[in-house]
């Protein structure tokens, strides 16, 4: 390993960050200027408590860096979103520590619930910090919906002797004792009512932790009621779903709905197709990321900024120590498209390390 890389891994002073960051966003003018704005999106920081006041340094670094970089955005985004899994095992210590780092963000911040925040106490402490587990709001003519999509069957919840055990079982991505994510009947009813108030030409953006599409059940890249939710969203001419959980770039188009994932600030995940024993369904639109470098702990982690225009969201993935990737809305083809890598047969994404 070269010395400069070691220094790079160790150092993450804000001076270093400022020096290497592309902070200016390219804002494009579109038909309805009132719908044009930007927001920042940070997700999956998995703050993990060791003991006393010790936390896993690696994950702390990822989140701190995202907050520091997002604060440098120019022009300033209208708001920020945190996409869930602030904590690893949902404890007060982890949520408090994560919340403290996140509070460094200089923007209004909307929170999404992740399974790692939830299963210790069904999100009670998270709600003390952040309020409602699902809600909606309007911003410059766009309707935003935040779902808690990581609920599951009561039967599974009641299966465990202790809260810690329940949390531990749900925290393992590949745990065969896990249970599929869902929004549940009550929330689905709420969603239906919430969306009914809007005309079909209102742009709608949904933030969820799980994908709201069925990609691979084994790792919960999955939401049980995906089809029902998609049906509700498809009524809108411009519907967008942005989700966390998967720790990798994914994007898709189903009817009027544009899907895109966001990165984790903590660690990357392999694509489900790399697991030889199971079948998965990565959207064919997705040009996958290249392999991550295990010698660079921030490789293939990052955060994103979103450019909202014409009812659609372009995404810029700020990939630490990697060339950034940009997904733009292609109005002719009617789906998101990487601005450089557009087809599965050209899948090698920009990659400095391997």
């Amino acid at each position: 390993m070269s010395i400069s890389r070691r220094n790079f891994i160790k150092g993450s002073s804000s001076a270093l960050i400022a020096g290497m960051l592309p902070v200016s966003m390219v804002k494009l003018a579109f038909a309805k200027p009132e719908h044009n704005f930007t927001f920042a999106y940070i997700s999956d920081s998995h703050i993990q408590h060791i003991k006393n006041n010790q936390f896993v340094r690696n994950w702390d670094q990822g989140l701190k860096r995202a907050v520091a970089e997002a604060n440098l955005l120019d022009p300033k985004p209208d708001f920020a979103v945190f996409g869930g899994d602030l904590a690893q095992l949902g404890t007060k210590a982890e949520l408090d520590h994560g919340a403290e780092i996140l509070s460094g963000l200089r923007y209004k911040n909307y929170m999404v619930m992740g399974e790692h925040d939830y299963y210790l106490d069904y999100g009670e402490y998270w709600s003390e910090l952040y309020g409602k587990q699902y809600y909606s709001f309007d911003h410059k003519g766009v309707h935003f919906v935040v779902l808690n999509s990581i609920l599951t069957y009561d039967e599974w919840n009641n299966r465990w002797d202790t809260a810690e055990q329940r949390m531990g079982e749900m925290a393992g991505l590949d745990n065969p004792n896990g249970s599929p994510f869902m929004v549940g009947k009550k929330q689905l009813k709420w969603l239906k009512k919430d969306l009914a108030k809007y005309d079909k030409d209102t742009p709608v953006v949904v933030f969820s932790h799980s994908p709201l599409q069925k990609i691979y059940k084994g790792w919960n890249f999955w939401t049980e009621e995906a089809e029902q939710i998609q049906k509700l969203l498809n009524r809108f001419e411009q519907a967008n779903v942005i989700y966390g959980h998967v720790h990798q770039i994914q994007y898709n188009q189903i009817g009027n709905i544009a899907f895109s994932s966001v990165m984790s600030t903590a660690w990357p995940w392999p694509y489900p197709s790399t697991y030889a024993q199971a079948e998965s369904h990565l959207p064919i639109l997705t040009v996958p990321m290249n392999r991550a470098d295990p010698f660079d702990e921030r490789d293939a982690t990052g955060w994103q900024f979103m450019n909202m225009h014409s009812g659609r969201t372009d995404l810029s993935f700020n990939l630490y120590s990697n060339d950034n990737r940009i997904l733009k809305w292609n109005a002719k083809r009617n789906h998101l498209e990487d601005d450089k890598y557009q087809y599965q047969n050209n899948p090698t994404a920009p990659q400095k390390h391997y």
């Binding site: 390993m1 990357p268 295990p294």
Partner: protein, 131 residues
């Protein structure tokens, strides 16, 4: 002297012959079961917060052992500047993301981790040297 006695003894034991390795279905079953026991230990280590010192487990980043590419070893590991076997990369991940202590190549834990990794990768063609 001693050798001579030994050789003589072998020839003198009645019915003793030199034969090819013979085994029954029962043997095969037992051997496979032995492998499964060790692979299971490997899986337990895979999800264990105790393998390292910071509570992080292999499974957090490698669900089902994915992205460990056992079929590509031995290979040139660019970052180490030499051809390595998988146990060296396992140690890399123990020392770094898990902030733990490396294991000896023949440590039973190291064998168990590999048994698990290879089991999850069963059926994938060998491809030594592949990046």
């Amino acid at each position: 002297m001693k050798w001579l006695t030994l050789i003589l003894l072998i020839f003198l034991v009645p019915g003793q012959r030199i034969v090819a390795d013979e085994f029954s279905e029962k043997d095969v079953e037992r051997w496979l079961a032995q492998f499964e026991i060790v692979a299971k230990e490997g899986r337990q280590l895979w999800v264990s917060p105790k393998l390292g010192t910071n509570g992080v487990a292999c499974a957090q980043c490698h669900p089902n052992g994915a992205n460990t590419h056992p079929e590509t070893y031995p290979k040139f590991q660019k970052q180490l500047g030499k051809v390595t076997h998988i146990w060296e990369m396992i140690n890399w991940c123990i020392k770094n993301p898990l902030e733990g202590k490396s294991l000896a190549a023949d440590d039973p834990k190291m064998i168990a981790l590999q048994a698990y990794i290879y089991k999850e990768r069963k059926g994938v063609a060998l491809s030594p040297g592949k990046h």
